[in-house]
């Protein structure tokens, strides 16, 4: 008789030996992956509020032409901080939060491979974020945009110390992110439940694995670039300063060879979440498991060969452009494969329209819009027209919000019962969904047209040209709807936590291992594990049990 043991490091995990009282001190000192996951999510919410306020101020300033609500200095700081915050301090922690929380649960492990390092990564990342915000008090936030082009990032053009804080803050955030990714890779490779080969890995875990490799490979160029920038600013070196032989183009190359993979870093986990959500609410296995995973790998590998499409207007020469156009267009293919595979998953299923499922379905539309406008940027001549216009702003928000954030929302509503132990209010959830979708599309769809009408991005104000005014006003109203919907979300989360129905272990009739344990899971996740026959281990278990019953 063989029993399946929970894989565990030789020494007992630090997290499993601590006491269970939920005092604040315990949260701060925790090394338990679930608590750290929740802390990551809370960190994400904190910065979401900050970044959201920045976004609202930006929209207020842009609501009417020739507005004087914000000074240009303030406006530049705000949009820079908005972008930096949302990418590095909202999306990334949210993704890490979900992965740190659910990866061990989905692979049948009791914690990450290095629990203490996990805590360290969280706190150093948070510290980096705090440092970035400290710049507001220290004379001015960074004001050269989130990709911070040289030579505008040089001391001569940005005298305040904001950009120094940007460098140090992002270096620390980068260390934290890479640390967690390494942790996740080791966990996924070495601590899977017995019998769970890579072929039986849930798609979410696959995506996190791929994603972590992407992070490990993508952050070093950023770190190199940031170090050089810091040296340029502090020790007057000559990396990006063209007057003394440096080259502003080098910054662009280094930044985008990080920056483009970063886009995929933010979207791949959402792909993973969606794959789980679609399966469970359609009650069908994912359509084309190997294609979903394979396209993830293809995206990850291609991601490093496309960065020049951010630089099509730089004048590097048509030969270079044609090759990068090819690779950038090519990356659209695996992305499209995924979208159609999800449709295939739903086809013939028995669909339950929970809030989570609605977000997943809305994702398909919003992300297709974002993806298609992305292909437009791979087509060099179209890129020549639209890059650095409001069309880009629309595109990137459709990818980041319509893509990544919708995916994360689907994940939040899907996993909330597991994390809190309470059911989330579906009625209010749907209110939130519709408010959010309408607000989001209202804010950003119109910006495509603004871009087509020639409005450049990052302007603190604009002349009263035909069409500009009402379109910007509409966008601002949409922005307010969106923030309203976020307030509603926080209310829903809070209320459900207080008075929601108890969720039980398996409220969605789900497929993966995290639903075999109690909600919320105990500090020691697993004491027993089912045998693993496929990537839907829990479903196999329930199915076998049913068959046995009928058989008897």
């Amino acid at each position: 008789m063989e029993t399946v043991n929970v894989p565990e490091p030789e020494e007992s995990l630090p997290s499993t030996s601590i006491s269970n009282d939920q005092g604040l001190l315990q949260w701060i000192s925790t090394v338990d992956h679930k608590q750290i996951g929740i802390l990551y999510l809370l960190m994400s919410v904190l910065f979401l509020l900050l970044g959201g306020v920045a976004a609202l101020l930006i929209r207020v300033q842009l609501s009417v032409p020739n507005n004087n609500f914000l000074s240009p200095e303030m406006y530049n700081q705000l949009f820079t901080m908005h972008g930096t915050t949302m990418v590095f301090l909202v999306m990334t922690p949210a993704i890490l939060g979900f992965s740190v929380y659910f990866v061990p649960l989905m692979i049948g492990a009791n914690d990450l491979a290095f629990p203490r390092m996990n805590a360290f990564s969280l706190w150093i990342g948070l510290f980096g974020g705090m440092l970035l915000y400290f710049s507001f008090l220290a004379g001015g936030a960074p004001d050269a945009g989130w990709f911070n082009y040289a030579p505008l990032n040089q001391r001569a053009y940005s005298q305040s110390s904001g950009i120094d804080y940007y460098c140090i803050g992002l270096l620390l955030v980068g260390i934290g992110t890479v640390g967690t990714s390494i942790n996740l890779i080791v966990t996924i490779i070495y601590y899977r439940a017995k019998g769970m080969s890579l072929r039986k890995l849930p798609v979410f875990v696959w995506m996190i694995l791929i994603n972590s490799f992407l992070i490990v490979a993508a952050f070093p160029p950023l770190n190199a670039a940031l170090s050089m920038l810091l040296l340029d600013r502090q020790l007057q070196t000559h990396f990006f300063n063209n007057t003394s032989g440096g080259s502003p183009i080098v910054w662009q190359h280094l930044f985008w060879s990080f920056g483009h993979p970063e886009v995929y870093i933010l979207i791949l986990p959402s792909f993973g979440i969606l794959s789980e959500v679609f399966q469970v609410y359609s009650r069908k296995p994912i359509f084309g498991y190997s294609f979903i995973v394979g396209s993830g790998i293809a995206i990850a590998l291609l991601a490093f060969g496309v960065w020049v499409h951010h630089m099509f207007a730089v004048g590097l020469g048509l030969t270079v452009y044609s090759y990068f156009a090819a690779s950038s267009m090519l990356i659209g293919v695996p992305t499209g494969v995924k979208v159609f595979n999800w449709l295939g998953t739903m086809w013939g299923g028995s669909l339950r329209f929970t809030t989570s499922m609605l977000f997943a379905m809305a994702f398909l539309v919003e992300f297709t819009i974002g993806g298609l406008s992305g292909v437009a940027f791979a087509i060099v001549p179209i890129d020549w027209q639209l890059t650095d216009s409001y069309f880009v702003v629309a595109h990137l928000h459709y990818v980041f919000v319509g893509g990544s954030l919708f995916g994360l929302m689907a994940g939040l509503f899907y996993w909330y019962p597991k994390m809190s132990g309470k059911m989330i209010s579906e009625k209010l959830g749907k209110w939130f969904f519709w408010l959010f979708v309408i607000g989001f599309n209202m804010t950003f769809f119109i910006q495509h047209i603004l871009g087509i009408k020639g409005m450049p991005r990052r302007v603190y104000t604009y002349p009263d040209l035909p069409g500009y005014t009402w379109m910007n006003m509409l966008s601002t109203i949409g922005g307010f709807l969106m923030s309203l919907s976020f307030l509603l979300l926080f209310y829903i989360l809070h209320k459900s936590y207080k008075i929601g129905k108890p969720a039980g272990n398996d409220p969605w009739d789900a497929y993966t291992l995290e639903w075999t344990v109690s909600s919320p899971p105990k500090i020691r996740n697993f004491t027993e594990l089912p045998p693993i026959y496929s990537y839907r281990a829990f479903r196999d278990l329930k199915e076998n049990a049913k068959n046995n019953k009928h058989g008897k």
């Binding site: 070093p220 040296l231 440096g246």
Partner: protein, 179 residues
């Protein structure tokens, strides 16, 4: 895990080296500054660094065989070799700085100091790790031959060495040969 750390560090160095080569090929690069570099003494110090990889391999071998005494000797030798290399670097830096060849002089100096500085920084980290292990060994806390600590540090140390081979070739040897 150490492999992944090395992978990410390797990419960092690749980025730095690519930047170096990029500037090396661009117009503003002041090649005459290369004459300041002292290839011979740095070459000798580099050989010492490379040999420290060998001594560390010996240390690992003795450790896995449980010969703690020999482990101590080889570890000590590695630390000494690493420190001597750092000393050599420091000497080179001081000489350069005394000749008013500092990091903000021109594009070459910028790249030179950044690249070698980053490498030296990694040597220091490696040394700190080795010293910790060494102290643990002296204290007698590191005598069971089943810890992976030493082999992980070993991997890191070899990596730092390989990086130096590349950096040394790039910054010192190639310009010297192509002069």
């Amino acid at each position: 895990m150490m492999r992944l750390v090395i992978a990410t560090e390797a990419i960092l160095f690749i980025s730095l080296m690519i930047t170096y080569v990029y500037f090396d090929l661009s117009v503003g690069f002041t090649k005459q500054s290369i004459n300041y570099l002292d290839i011979k003494s740095t070459g000798i110090f580099s050989v010492l660094l490379f040999s420290s990889s060998f001594t560390l391999v010996q240390a690992e071998k003795n450790y896995s065989e449980g010969k703690i005494k020999k482990l101590k000797i080889w570890l000590f030798a590695t630390i000494v070799l690493g420190s001597v290399f750092l000393f050599g670097q420091a000497k080179e830096y001081f000489k350069l700085l005394n000749n008013h060849f500092n990091i903000s002089l021109d594009v070459f100096s910028t790249n030179f100091f950044t690249l070698t500085g980053f490498h030296a920084f990694h040597v220091i980290i490696g040394l700190i790790l080795l010293i910790i292990v060494f102290i643990l060994t002296l204290a007698g806390d590191f005598d069971r031959p089943n810890s992976t600590a030493l082999s992980s540090i070993g991997m890191y140390w070899h990596f730092v060495d390989i990086v130096w081979i590349l950096v040394f070739t790039l910054v010192y040897v190639l310009p010297y040969l192509l002069k």
